[in-house]
């Protein structure tokens, strides 16, 4: 399984984050909230100065491009747990 992080951050900001945190998986920049809107995970005006940002959400997509698992939390503090995701990833063929 390939983890991919998506936010409105610029490539430069994500580069700094990856360096600081040691992340080696892809970080994609979506400043125009193109993919964020396609997945209906836009949080209007929730960013600094009222910018639109992504709400936390995770989608597991299988090799044929079909969503196999999704987590749309209703609490910003409560995110998917790693073991929960790994369990779902093991079900992928």
């Amino acid at each position: 399984m390939r983890p991919v992080a998506i936010s409105v951050d610029s490539p430069q900001e994500s580069r700094d984050l990856c360096k600081k945190a040691g992340y080696t998986f892809p970080f994609l920049s979506d400043p125009n909230t193109d993919a964020i809107r396609k997945y209906d995970v836009l949080h209007r005006g929730a960013g600094v100065d009222g910018h639109d940002i992504a709400r936390p959400a995770e989608f597991l997509v299988d090799a044929s491009g079909v969503v196999r698992w999704a987590n749309l939390t209703d609490d910003i503090r409560v995110r998917a747990r790693p073991e929960q995701i790994l369990e779902q990833a093991r079900l992928l063929k």
Binding site: M1, V8, P26, D30, D34, F59, V61, A70
Partner: protein, 152 residues
């Protein structure tokens, strides 16, 4: 007059209430067990408010023995305010996120997209699904899309 004892229940209680939120943000929010249901922080607040209550009762119940008739009510109100603020954040503030009713559901096709990665390359969902993983030389069995708020 100056023989009255320091009302340490008041000050310890206030200190606990003061540290409850910073300790949640710095420590307890990092672990799902103490984050999802913030019981550790609730316990700290409960201990702090109990001590504050006891301190205020001492200050007014044993006038000759304990200090804190002015500090007591002030610290008590501040401690309660901190606890109220935390509860408001946990039970209301954190839940103010969009419903995402039109998000792709399990069994549906994931919408394709093309975005810029940290090396300024254009990357599509299709390419993420087919490009081999560097350590395995085979395409991944799937892609986990993690949308996050970012740091702007």
């Amino acid at each position: 007059m100056s023989k009255r004892r320091r009302n340490w229940h008041l000050w310890i209680g206030f200190l606990l209430c003061l540290l409850a939120i910073p300790s949640y943000l710095a420590v307890f929010a990092k672990f799902p067990v103490t984050r999802d249901v913030p019981w550790a922080t609730f316990l700290i607040f409960a201990a702090g408010l109990l001590l504050l209550t006891s301190g205020v009762r001492r200050a007014f119940g044993q006038l000759q023995e304990y200090r804190g008739k002015i500090a007591g009510p002030i610290l008590g109100v501040l401690g309660l305010a901190a606890a109220g603020f935390f509860c408001f954040g946990v039970f209301y503030g954190a839940k103010q996120i969009p419903k995402s009713a039109a998000a792709p559901r399990v069994g549906q096709k994931a919408p394709d997209f093309t975005l810029t990665d940290t090396a300024n390359r254009q990357v599509s969902l299709a390419s993420l699904l087919t490009e081999p993983l560097t350590n395995l030389q085979t395409p991944p069995k799937g892609v986990l899309l993690v949308f996050y708020r970012g740091y702007w």
